[in-house]
Symmetry: C2
Subunit: 337 residues, 2 copies
Amino acid sequence: MSETNRHWVLTDRPKGGNFNEVLDLREEAAPEPGEGEYRVRTIYLSLDPTNAVWMQYDTYLPAVPLNSTMRGLVLGVVDKSNHPKVKVGDIVSGMGRWADYLITNGEGMGKVPRLPGLPLLSYLGPLGMTGATAYFGLLDIGRPKEGETVVVSAAAGAVGSLVGQIAELKGCRAVGIAGSDEKCAWLTDELGFDAAINYKASGWRKALRAAVPNGIDIYFENVGGEITEAALDLLNLKGRIPFCGAISQYNATQPAPGPRNLSVLVSKRARMEGFLVLDYTPRMGELYTEMGPWVAEGRIKWRVDLDQGLENTLTSFAKLFNGGNRGKLAVQVSPEP
Amino acid sequence: MSETNRHWVLTDRPKGGNFNEVLDLREEAAPEPGEGEYRVRTIYLSLDPTNAVWMQYDTYLPAVPLNSTMRGLVLGVVDKSNHPKVKVGDIVSGMGRWADYLITNGEGMGKVPRLPGLPLLSYLGPLGMTGATAYFGLLDIGRPKEGETVVVSAAAGAVGSLVGQIAELKGCRAVGIAGSDEKCAWLTDELGFDAAINYKASGWRKALRAAVPNGIDIYFENVGGEITEAALDLLNLKGRIPFCGAISQYNATQPAPGPRNLSVLVSKRARMEGFLVLDYTPRMGELYTEMGPWVAEGRIKWRVDLDQGLENTLTSFAKLFNGGNRGKLAVQVSPEP
């Protein structure tokens, strides 16, 4: 008897965020692993802003082909294996699908190390791709020095909330930019940011200026648009801009113009540098070594905004773009073993 | 009897390139050096796009104060000295004024090394700030590797024409973007660029694409605007953009939007980095060591578009923004000794 595999099929390229119209939940018999392959039952499906880009066009990864199952990061358990090095019951994570099951030869998929004292969900958050994005983006691209000021946009998001905390642990002043007073209170009161600015409140630019009395040494870029312009205006000499993404533009029907004050980079001898977390896969050990204890000791706070059921993926996904989530967004597809 | 010092006074902030209306040529008695100072008679006044920025607002240097003499790079001869280390007849260059004479304590001014076989004008061109901008911008910020493709905008300008030639000497493919067929012919036929694209000709984007069959590894940014967008679209993985300036925007009355495709930096893990030649003053020795022989042996071709007479400075300066000059633009203020 075969299990049912529910899976979200991409039927068209989305425009302006109409994900409901281009993704269709279908059913099929669950696939069986061939020789050298294994099957993963999805426990958690990670929902990330970049998913919207994958639906639309080729970038660092080819666009998801039309009429195929949508791509996504997953954490799951091996439930059938014809692979010599992978056993039933192993917990793995990596690039998967918006589906109950996937078949893999192991490429793009790695065993989760299960450090003591850490719940499985942490591998979706601070010890997964989300954590790696914050950790390597800030440290490897931003290269913070003690006493510097780090500003992060989309600060209440999965990546942003970690960036600010890592900055604090490295002795920096962390300032977050987020979209509600409630989110800002969470950043300062619970996560330990030095300041947080609600960019939807009037006078936010002035408030940002006041929050960075020594200017901005690192602006961690998640959003694009006028927040970027405000940060550029406050950038210090030799400032650094780790360029993680531009969520304000992912669902734009027209490409939005870049910052009008980009030439601040010249006068400030500043650096804007893009990076992709996938490039850091070989260095995940560094993340586990430094971030693992921080997480286990509670020095890094994190939350997963977890919705239940693969069938609710689109409702959940919409939160990424309407400001509805705090922390890492994910869907629980099946129970933990 | 004192000499007359003609000098250009900035009377207002220019708007939209109305330099004629905000600069006024005046006369006064030539100044006398005080204790520890010396006087320089200007031989050559360098005219650079960044001068337009200095007139308008504070950047890496404060804006030139209103009702004071305009700032500019000069090369001149010491004609009076109360300075222990500087003799009458010494040739010096550095930050000066749009004037016949200047008084200095030596700060921001350096003796010209007079390498054998090199005319004085070369210290305004490939062995001066212009050469240093091209040399350090390309090598220090761009870090070219043999076989890579380097594209430079404003390629027939003082800096751009050197960037392409240095790229060629370093074993790269050099492609220039310039504003006329005549300039393009000069780049390929005389300077040895592999290809040159006239961005005013129809189909130039397609021509650019064809000229970089292996994509762009380094885009040396001088202009901004749609040329930047075209270059970003062709940027390779780990591409680098030494950001030298954005001449298309220096006289804009409204700040122009940045490139709409700036997030190419993310998908290509690319780096855009601003730099200022003034930061490289302590490293001019490197320039003399490597570029000096290239220039002396004729392996680097360069030209100074030299106009005569301080009174003609504004006519000359306008060429920077209407595409009228090739190579380094300068005004001869007085004869070489």
